[in-house]
Symmetry: C2
Subunit: 402 residues, 2 copies
């Protein structure tokens, strides 16, 4: 597997665009409508927010993905179309209709995603113009424009593309995501879109996507606020002409691995770009009694405000890490834990040991900090990612609507 250029436009048969439709109000030249188009109907799979206050585009796109194939995705930033009632659902459907008409498609072939402020009706005049412009702007190298158009408080674009061999055929996969972390439900925490020219049925793609999301986007936390708008959609248009990928085969394994790597890359980028974040935390938990315990412990550490403030200060306050694993719901004997911050051991069999403050502070001062916990209970392990909690998080979020 190798990393290549062109993001979501890298796979055969995908075009994209991003245009400015003035949805963000006083940012008239900021791109805010994106379109992704496959020249052939593609197998579709999706993972959607578990928040019961689902935004209109989540409701609409979940039904569209259930049909099995999609040809286009239309996405806007600047307005989440959440808590907008019946009108919001009508607006989300209308976005699909307009995109479909512009592309000569059935409306069932278009899914929609939105991200931005909650509770404000979509400015449909501007949205409709934006969608029409984006259809005209579709291009084989429109990936950067699209990745820019889905950004909200993100400080950098998030895209990736890889290719790999499946049964003699070269398969390409591209993806883009927006953050900034799980920190901004108003801004729809995470939107991510995967394109691939692999030949794979919708159900198999869905299985792979659900598993890979569990190992990637479900393993990051910036502040634990689960958005009303979270959505990941994958499209596979078969243009690589590989033999169809069946579940439980070697080929499926190869495809899954690529998908997992692509999503982990994007998830880490989202965590790293968490609002106000100055560094990335990678929490590894080994020796748990179950997969669920390992994941719970790793995620609790990444979500703890106390761990995150200590990380911000590069302070080796390991008690907060043990405490977070302790309330995570994972079951373990605290007197068995070994804990390492970077390469420095700080806890042995549940007790603090003498360590070099200087060395630990040095580890915690890196842009990517790794912490390892060995629970010595069983054979399960998990990794989760998060970021530190800084003054800028407060500044960004205290004044968000203003």
């Amino acid at each position: 597997m190798q990393t290549i250029a062109n993001g979501i436009c890298a796979p055969k048969g995908f075009l994209a665009s991003g245009v400015a439709a003035n949805i963000k109000g006083n940012n008239a030249d900021k791109k805010d409508v994106a379109l992704v188009f496959s020249i052939k109907p593609a197998s579709a799979a999706g993972v959607f927010t578990t928040n019961v206050a689902k935004a209109a585009p989540v409701k609409v796109s979940r039904a569209k993905v259930a049909h099995g194939t999609l040809s286009a995705l239309v996405i806007n930033s600047g307005n989440a179309n959440a808590c907008t009632g019946v009108q919001g659902v009508a607006d989300a459907n209308h976005m699909c209709d307009v995109a479909a008409a512009s592309l000569n498609l059935e409306s069932t072939q278009v899914a929609v995603a939105s991200t931005g402020i909650i509770g404000v009706p979509l400015p449909m005049n501007r949205i409709v113009s934006g969608i029409r412009d984006s259809a005209k702007a579709l291009a084989p190298h429109g990936n950067l424009d699209a990745a820019k158009a889905i950004m909200t408080t993100d400080t950098f674009m998030k895209e990736i593309a890889v290719n790999f061999n499946i049964g003699g055929s070269l398969v390409t996969m591209g993806a883009m995501a927006k953050g900034s972390g799980m920190i901004h439900p108003n801004m729809a925490t995470t939107l991510a879109f995967v394109t691939t020219d692999a030949n794979i049925a919708p159900a198999t793609l869905q299985t792979a996507l659900s598993h890979a999301v569990d190992k990637s986007f479900n393993a990051i936390s910036v502040d634990g606020d689960t958005s009303t708008n979270d959505m990941i959609i994958a499209l596979a248009n078969g243009q690589a002409e590989n033999q169809i990928i069946e579940a439980n085969t070697h080929e499926y394994g190869q495809f899954y691995l690529a998908l997992e790597q692509v999503l982990i890359h994007l998830a880490k980028e989202v965590a790293k770009d968490g609002e106000g974040a100055t560094k990335l935390l990678e929490m590894q938990v080994y020796g748990a009694n179950s997969q669920k315990d390992a994941q719970a412990a790793a995620k609790a550490v990444c979500a703890s405000p106390l761990v995150k403030t200590a990380l911000f200060a590069s302070d080796g306050n390991w008690g907060r890490i043990v405490c977070a694993m302790g309330y995570s719901g994972a079951n373990f004997d605290v007197d068995q834990i070994d804990l390492f911050i970077g390469n420095q051991q700080v806890v042995k069999k549940g007790k603090g040991i003498v360590f070099s403050e200087e060395a630990v502070t040095h580890e915690l001062s890196q842009k990517e900090v790794s912490v390892r916990a060995y629970l010595h209970q069983g054979d399960f392990s998990a990794v989760a990612w998060g970021c530190d909690l800084s003054h800028d998080y407060i500044t960004i979020n205290a004044g968000y609507r203003c």
Copy 2:
């Protein structure tokens, strides 16, 4: 029921003290060892942290409370005696032994609590001296010294006393607690102690305490970090000479009500004094499908960093409130919600309505802000308390160990 003076020393037969034993290092004159003493063995009940990384004093005191009666409580701040292994348990037991010897009691009659930094062995020489000093200092008006000695980052003391009539007998109840909120697991989130001269059996007292904690301390959140050291212990020494309070009687109801009011008062004080907090949030949820749903929704709002930063900025960003209820685990139809910030309605049937930004900002600028959500699903309601999230939280927690 009326509020009276003297905190934990208000009930008949209770003495208390607080002394400085130099446990906090460079704060040699800051009180850090407290003692509470009942002249007669008292019915005891306790509620302890659910964190699996339980501190040594939690393990030791849980076993002591299980015996049914206690005569004394010894408490230190400045060091949590958590993640201290076998030595920690020995140290916690030794604290009980020293207090018992100083008071001519069996060691089984003394429980222990600690709060402060995790993972550092107790400085036992200073602790032992402190306990002996505190025994000599026991006094009928030692409640203020004791309440001061259990403080960590608290900015004000938290105590209360009330009296009320049960079957013709005047019963008195006192209590003290420390915070600052659920925000500081190193600092043992919450320690609270209740004294009463009521005549009530241990099992009945335990039932009342468990229920009242659910409505009070379990309904507050500052940052969702559940401490390794949380502990609430109630002592009832029977000196009021009321007829013994039996479960499911009118008298039990009177006693329970007083206990609930006392604990809610302290819990709100702890939330109000959350680290860096500038205001108190009271979140009321009505019309939920179940008690569990109502509590989950109310607590999720109080725990949401995004709600808390908006509250800090007095910003009527109600989407974050709906979003937090949405991911709380509570099941409801978002299109039925009505939401009020203070007296200003901001959401009607799940949709934002036009409101006066000025009026909402005014409501959010109060020292105590109340938000009401009507889910219109069923008949259950709950209330939870929290605080805002300010720059000072980051400052306090980023530099805590330094």
